[in-house]
């Protein structure tokens, strides 16, 4: 018997679990897959919280103070991150353009580039999904007064990858820089660039940004700023964030059950009792006092769309589904983005038609909530963090 069972181990579920564990609860997190953190590149967007809060039914409207608390909570949880409430920072996209965000790994903070006149882009040999010429052109556009040049680094340790005709995934490069040999190579390359006359800042794709003290140490000894980049999925930095959160769960004595989905939950008189999980060979029943539903949206598979409707996959809860009107403008608003569960102020699922609370001891958090659009409002990380933290307080 657990105090709390969290269904879905993405950003929202993990934060809920960590907070509840800190409060001394016995927590189990069950997740089908590793969640969408690996897609998100490790930066967390909050968006214009004050404006969004005014939208009726927007998650920011009912989580209230929790948004700001979640912001500082996350910074304290993960010292590799930086950010100032109410202000935006910038990071480089995988193509070398700038984009704004609120919570970012220090390593990705692009602000030093605004002050540099001579920018060197390191080009680690064979790095997958990295396009140096495009990055150079885009950086030049972003910083028209500066001079951008490329610097090829040949890393002999990857000779066998090249021989196999394969480019090297960012995750493999990131891991390598943290090893002893990688560390030595990194130091050598960076010192070489720093020693050249026309360098004032280094852009370095594929560097680890979270939980890699070895690399931090090398870079601390360099006088030039070294700016990392976000990458295409699967993102090494997103995965590192995921791993740092799961480690935290385990360090606090929590348990993670990854790779199996909750098939269904048995409900008695508006209370969830037992979650049924598809283990190998048989079903396992998990009993808990309270539950968090953080199964994500269409990508996390908390919601599935069929030609004629949208379904919530665990409880079969009734959903808010906006009328289909868009669709003409491909990049415009996609109404399905706002589909999801309606909840009360305590994150308990409600019937969208009547407002009646449907489950007393279930708290919904993250992408599965209705009435928000991470793409248009740029608040994917913020809503998931704040609703996750609130769920962690309620568990």
């Amino acid at each position: 018997m657990w105090d709390g069972l969290v269904i879905g181990g993405g950003l929202a579920g993990l934060i809920a679990g960590i907070r509840a564990l800190e409060r001394g609860k016995k927590i189990l997190i069950v997740s089908e897959g590793v969640g969408s953190l690996a897609f998100a590149g490790g930066v967390l967007d909050f968006g214009r919280v004050r404006e969004l809060r005014r939208l009726e039914k927007h998650p920011y409207a009912y989580v209230g103070e929790m948004a700001e608390r979640a912001f500082s909570y996350f910074l304290q949880l993960n010292p590799a991150y930086t950010g100032t409430w109410g202000r935006r920072g910038s990071v480089l996209t995988p193509l070398g353009t700038l984009r704004e965000t609120e919570l970012l790994p220090r390593r990705l903070d692009a602000s030093p580039l605004f002050k540099a006149n001579k920018i060197v882009v390191a080009v680690p040999g064979g790095l997958k999904d990295f396009f140096p010429e495009i990055v150079k052109a885009n950086l030049q556009k972003e910083f028209p007064s500066g001079n951008v040049r490329l610097k090829k680094l040949s890393v002999e340790e990857f000779a066998d990858w090249r021989a196999a005709g394969k480019s090297i995934p960012g995750t493999v490069y990131a891991e390598f820089w943290g090893t002893e040999r990688g560390n030595t190579a990194l130091k050598r390359h960076i010192c070489e660039i720093a020693g050249e006359a026309d360098s004032e800042a280094i852009v370095f794709p594929g560097l680890p940004a979270i939980g890699c003290p070895e690399v931090d140490e090398v870079l601390a000894g360099i006088s030039l700023p070294v700016v990392g980049m976000t990458s295409f999925p699967p993102s090494a930095i997103g995965l590192a964030l995921y791993e740092s959160l799961t480690r935290r769960v385990k360090a606090l004595g929590g348990e993670l059950l990854i790779g199996v989905g909750v098939e269904r939950v048995e409900v008695e008189s508006a209370r969830a009792r037992r979650a049924i999980v598809r283990s190998k060979g048989k079903e396992t029943a998990l009993t808990a006092e309270t539950f968090v539903l953080a199964t994500g949206g269409f990508l996390g598979r908390g919601l599935v769309a069929t030609p004629d409707d949208v379904r919530e996959t665990v409880f079969g809860l009734p959903l808010h589904v906006p009328p289909l009107r868009g669709g003409k403008d491909f990049l415009g608003e996609q109404p399905y983005a706002r589909a999801g569960i309606e909840v009360d102020r305590h994150l308990r699922p409600c019937d969208p038609a009547t407002g009646e609370v449907l489950l007393e001891n279930v708290f919904a958090a993250g992408r599965i909530l209705a009435h928000w659009d991470p793409w248009l409002e740029h608040c994917g990380g913020g809503v998931s963090l704040s609703s996750g933290l609130l769920a962690g307080e309620l568990l």
Binding site: E32, G33, P169, K280, T284
Partner: protein
């Protein structure tokens, strides 16, 4: 009463391949239909987590070998079969995949179809090697006939160099030590509680039952004895040939909880055979084991495993065999600690624990993660006063059964386990823990080799807490 006749591979008591249909037919469906293919959203998460793809450049990784290549395979295009052999079947890819794609099914099926065992072992010495490594049983029997001799011989550099030259078994790899064969005597409870660390020379062939003085209780046809207090124990090759003491500890813990433990003369579960491309023999073993289990399964008696790879095979592979017993095996197989946790939840676990003051690190074996039951051993151990257990969470140990014994894969196997060894060494240095606990015998051997740390099955901690003789 059964007689163990595993010696002659084909001479066993196993049934003729059953003619009647039965078991889980999902296998058939999967074979005919590419289900799962469309579920793949091409996110690449699996390959980012695959321990082999991370460490070994030429390995294309699960996305490529599984769902991507499956499309080609369905159209009759085959890939270079050599790379398929580098998949260790650790199942990490399947665990992390957000879409539930059965990646390793696809890879194993491809290996089976392409006969990649032959391709990999084009040279006959490698075929012999796969034959030897595929049969923990053979190697085991060799070792247990005269353990001292085998261990001495296996330990000499010369022998290991010869093995590497002749068979491609790495001279450096940590071959487990061979001990006397695990045997359980009928009515041997008293003996079991005696000092077991010293390989007490029990060697009665046949079904053993630990029931106190109840001679026929091990016989499923004997109607006496309530089925609810009986369990069948599937020890697996590691306990059978390398680590008898742990098997006895498992039995003592179950007995302490009031169970009568039945140990039929099981054969190797088949996992090492599958891993070495000997699919038909693996299925043969499964059939024979199922035949041995059938009478117990019919009476609803649970099958307990203490090896996570055996457990996974019983839960995942055996239900696909087309014999009636296959219908029950998945649901009735429990990992030891999964079973004990159920007892705990029902309030039936004996919790008269003595304090065990020892800081431990826990390594979750890949095949435990793949069972989808979480980490029940940690849950149980944390019920014991004094136990502090930290989860290492540093990925795969790299050995993957016999993978790391192969000369061409030995280095790679250590590289895969590098992160884990580093964490273990660091933790030991800082005095954070004194030993590593993990269910898998292969992981134990590899961790000891890679990091020098003492490693043991978690049942030892529980046995100590019960005052049944300890392991720390």
């Amino acid at each position: 009463m059964y007689t163990q006749t595993q010696w002659g591979e084909e001479g066993g008591p196993g049934p003729k391949p059953a003619a009647e249909p039965g078991g889980d037919d999902s296998h058939r469906q999967e074979c005919g239909d590419p289900a799962g293919l469309d579920a793949c959203v091409k996110c690449g998460i699996c390959t980012a987590h695959c321990p082999v793809a991370r460490a070994y450049a030429p390995f294309p990784g699960p996305k490529n070998l599984g769902p991507d290549a499956e499309r080609l395979r369905l159209e009759g295009v085959a890939l270079d079969p050599g790379c398929l052999a580098y998949c260790t079947n650790c199942k990490t890819c399947e665990v992390v995949c957000p879409s539930g794609v059965r990646i390793t099914d696809m890879i194993l099926r491809a290996r089976r179809q392409q006969g990649s065992a032959q391709a990999e072992s084009a040279k006959s010495r490698l075929r012999i090697r796969d034959h030897v490594l595929g049969r923990a049983e053979y190697l085991g029997r060799l070792g247990t006939v005269w353990p001292e001799f085998t261990n001495t011989v296996l330990a000499t550099k010369l022998t290991r160099r010869l093995l590497q030259k002749a068979l491609g078994i790495s001279a450096e790899a940590p071959l487990p030590k061979y001990k006397k064969r695990f045997r359980l005597e009928k009515g041997s409870a008293a003996e079991l509680t005696s000092e077991s660390g010293q390989n007490g020379g029990k060697s009665v062939e046949g079904t053993g039952s630990s029931s106190m003085g109840r001679g026929a209780a091990g016989d499923p046809s004997a109607g006496n004895g309530s089925a609810s207090k009986q369990v069948v124990y599937f020890p697996g090759c590691f306990v059978n040939y390398n680590d008898e003491a742990t098997g006895l500890a498992v039995i003592r813990v179950l007995e302490h909880n009031g169970f009568e433990v039945i140990v039929p003369g099981f054969h190797c579960c088949g996992v090492p055979l599958t891993a070495n491309g000997r699919f038909r023999e693996a299925e043969g073993n499964a059939r024979r084991n199922l035949a041995l289990m059938e009478p117990y399964l019919e009476r609803g008696i649970p099958i307990i495993t203490s090896c996570t790879s055996c457990g996974l095979a019983l839960k995942e592979d055996y239900p696909r065999i087309r014999v009636p017993a296959a219908k029950r095996i998945g649901a009735q197989t429990y990992d030891l600690f999964e079973f004990l946790w159920l007892l705990h939840e029902r309030g039936e676990l004996k919790e008269d624990f003595l304090e065990v003051r020892v800081p431990l690190a826990y390594h979750a074996p890949c095949h435990l993660k793949a069972q989808g039951i979480g980490t029940p051993s940690l849950r149980i151990l944390r019920l014991i006063p004094g136990v502090k257990a930290e989860e290492l969470d540093a990925g795969c140990c790299g050995l993957s059964g016999s993978f790391g014994f192969k000369a061409e894969k030995y280095e790679l196997s250590l590289q895969i386990g590098h992160a884990l060894f580093q964490r273990v060494r660091q933790g030991m240095r800082e005095g954070k823990f004194k030993a590593v606990i993990t269910e898998c015998g292969g992981c134990q051997v590899q961790i000891a080799q890679g990091s020098g740390a003492r490693s043991l099955h978690p049942v030892w901690i529980l046995a100590q807490a019960y005052g049944l003789g300890g392991g720390t």
